[in-house]
Amino acid sequence: MLCPPTSKHMDLEHNKKGSNGSEKSELVTVAIHQLKTALTTNKWAINYLFGENNDNLTPAQREVLETVYESNERAIKIVKGILLTEKEIGGVFKLNLSKINLNKLISKIIKRLEPEIRKKSLKMSVEETSQNFPEIIADEEKINYVFENIIGDAVLYTADGGSVSVKIEEKPQNKIEVSVTDTGIGIPEEDKKDVFKKFFRGKNAKEADMGGTGLGLFISKYIVEKHGGDIDFDSTEGLGTVFKIILPIDKNL
């Protein structure tokens, strides 16, 4: 059941304060939240079908559902990006710090991407160089956004039958590095300097017409840097890309 657009009331006073008080901005925020609620219902419903009726789905039905799930995930990512950009970046940006098990967080993200990975027959691997990484102190929701975005893009921009691998390793000076390597379309040489710019989309990404707003990497870099970390990449067009995200184990140290 989806609630009618006017039936749920949000903390509107809070939104007024957070968005320079304009009614328009408040309306947009409420509408985006309603959209997020509707997309969540879709996500849970499709996921439920995958889980409960696994054997009853025909290959054609499964393919349709996987496509819907994939595009719904992309829509959720866009909505999250808009909310983060609208409400926080350039406004009040705050980190809710708690202890995070990075291995667990990344495994969950990969599990959520399973329908897309299966549909594209991708080889997905995770290499943990240790079973006992320390938990990092970070904002879970925001770090989740970063890895959803980086791993999600790797899956999105890699052709059927390609591979995506994630490696987690501890680095000196109390840091953890996560590298995400894909055999995807890569980033053209002339686009590399602009990859982290707001609204920028690579030439070949636009041609591939995968959707996207050009906000994901901009927001990811912002979040990683606010944690005292760093994000960088190496890429060859047509061969693939590796993104490296370095995060301090405790940003307060």
């Binding site: 809070h14 219902t41 996500k43 409400k87 926080e88 929701e141």
Partner: protein, 134 residues
């Protein structure tokens, strides 16, 4: 103790107005051996919770009218019968101010619905039960 083992036979109470999400959560948790009772708004939550005495509470924030989930959490934490029960907030509000408010009011965990798939609820509920046993 693993989450699945931890939640077997436990009573979970869900405060959620969306009937479809309630159906999915109920299905997941009952298949994992839990007993799930629910109500659909904040106004009914406290009296239902007092009757039910669950092991874990799953609480949405936004309801169509009446008091919101933050208010319910405040009332839970000032109620002698209920205050020791771990509360997991399950909401789509994801701004830091909302998460901070929920955690400050005493939530065990704050989960953004759009960021998880339903199976993950078992893990979160399991962690809440394990934390209570410790």
């Amino acid at each position: 103790m693993k989450s699945l083992e931890a939640i077997n036979g436990k009573k979970i109470f869900l405060v959620e107005d969306d009937k479809f999400l309630t159906k999915i959560i109920k299905d997941k948790l009952t298949k994992a051996g839990s007993i799930l009772n629910n109500c659909e708004n904040g106004d009914d939550a406290i009296s239902s919770l007092e009757q039910d005495s669950p092991d874990v509470i799953l609480l949405d924030i936004m309801f169509p009218g009446g008091i919101d989930g933050f208010k319910v959490l405040e009332q839970i934490k000032s109620n002698d019968k209920l205050k020791s029960i771990p509360v997991i907030i399950l909401s789509n509000l994801s701004e830091p101010s909302h998460i901070e408010k929920g955690m400050k009011l005493g939530a065990f965990r704050y989960i953004v619905k759009a960021s998880i798939v339903p199976d993950e609820i078992i893990d979160h509920v399991g962690s809440a039960i394990i934390s209570r046993v410790k």
